[in-house]
């Protein structure tokens, strides 16, 4: 005899997430190393960028903001790209871990984007003479920030969290089109924001002594994302488990009440 409908979904849910246990076992072994790398990267990168690197010939000491702004902006885009890939995997292959990873990435990406917007604004005032202008780069990054927020809201807007994650996955895929717009905004349209200095066809236009600390900060932020992602995936998984066991409990109570009456 097949299981009753309610029991079956609960069992399915657990088997669906059974295999991720292996992933988390591995992730938990890597996590301390990731945090160690983050601390090392910050311990080397921050003093290098904020104290020891020479001031820029035009910007003076204000250039130091760049060492936080640029890695944050890179991560704003990198996190979204990974989120979109995870969403794609989740939608096509129905992989539960990919689904969790996509949803867990959104708040991290939003935080990096917010950091990029704020540091950019603080750099803009002394350099450009304005905190904010509606040019192509700034506007498109602000849109990315709103896409992240919309993604977070959407993934939690449904009574059934699994459905919320599914809809959020689709939304994340459509939103990925903002990435080429952000990247090429400074080339397609004339903007107040300068064009790319590191990832460009003819090589970086940053002097090596300034590029090194920037790359170290960039890598540190990258590792920080993976470390945070493991934490966030744990809490997403915990939320899924909590919900399914609470549902099972509720149903058991309901059936025992039905039997009693």
């Amino acid at each position: 005899m097949p299981l009753p409908q309610d029991e079956r979904t609960t069992v399915q849910m657990f088997t669906r997430f059974a295999q991720p246990a292996r992933f988390f076992a591995l992730a938990d072994r890597i996590a301390p190393w990731l945090w160690g790398l983050v601390i090392l990267g910050l311990a080397v990168g921050l003093p290098w960028a904020l104290i020891f690197v020479q001031p820029d010939y035009q910007q003076g000491d204000t250039v130091r903001i760049m060492y936080v702004h640029v890695p944050a902006a890179w991560m704003a885009m990198f996190v979204y790209a990974s989120m979109a890939i995870a969403s794609f995997v989740a939608l096509v292959w129905r992989h539960p871990l990919a689904e969790i990873a996509a949803v867990a990435s959104a708040p991290i990406g939003a935080a990096f984007t917010f950091c990029a917007l704020v540091t950019g604004s603080l750099w803009g005032k002394p350099m450009w003479g304005t905190y904010w202008e509606w040019d192509g780069r700034m506007t498109s990054v602000l849109i990315l920030f709103f896409i992240y927020l919309a993604h977070i809201a959407l993934s939690q807007a449904f009574e059934d969290p699994a459905q919320g994650r599914r809809i959020a996955n689709i939304f994340a895929l459509v939103g990925v089109l903002i990435l080429p717009i952000i990247k090429f905004s400074v080339e397609w349209w004339n903007t107040l924001h300068q064009s790319a200095s590191v990832f460009r066809m003819d090589g970086p236009t940053i002097e090596p002594s300034m590029l090194w600390p920037l790359l170290i900060m960039g890598l540190t932020f990258q590792v920080l994302y993976f470390a945070l992602l493991i934490v966030r995936m744990h809490s997403e998984m915990a939320a899924v488990r909590l919900r399914s066991s609470r549902l099972a409990l509720m149903r058991r109570e309901q059936t025992s009440e039905a039997v009693a009456s």
Partner: protein, 148 residues
């Protein structure tokens, strides 16, 4: 030929994304004039309606063109083809320098002078320490900040 459900989803999503990408390309092309943050001197000079509206004018501050008289500053903005005289009364940002990028917001008056009430300095993509810049200038291989 029958596809598995996975392949169907893969095809469906890929084709959907492909269409969306085409839409973005069209949008980017359509917005290329309106999404521009500023217009260049040659665009403004060529436009005979230019006097009627507020614009942002962008380009390089022409070397040797900055004249300060009291609170008033005159300078020329050039895109290496045309240049326009800009007049402003505001305090200029730190990065405002001859040979550097600038964006001025204001109106073109009847005598062809661009009256700006907002001036933003534009920074280029070059970053280097001061001593490196000095050395490059000394060796005569300086490329940045030279204007046209």
């Amino acid at each position: 030929m029958a596809y598995s459900r996975k392949t169907q989803r893969l095809l469906f999503i890929s084709v959907g994304l492909g269409f969306a990408a085409v839409a973005v390309v069209f949008m980017a092309l359509a917005f290329s004039s309106t999404a521009a943050f500023f217009r260049t001197p040659s665009e403004l000079v060529a436009d005979d309606q230019a006097g009627s509206q507020r614009y942002r004018l962008g380009g390089l501050v022409e070397t040797g063109s900055v004249v300060k008289q009291g609170s008033q500053t005159d300078f020329k903005v050039t895109d290496c083809q045309a240049s326009l005289l800009v007049r402003t009364n505001i305090i200029l940002p730190d990065l405002f320098r001859e040979g550097q990028g600038v964006v001025a917001e204001g109106k073109l008056n009847a005598s062809g002078v661009f009256e700006a009430d907002k001036v933003l300095a534009k920074h280029d993509e070059n970053y280097m320490p001061k001593d490196v810049a000095d050395k490059l200038k000394q060796q005569g291989v300086w490329q940045g900040g030279g204007g046209c």
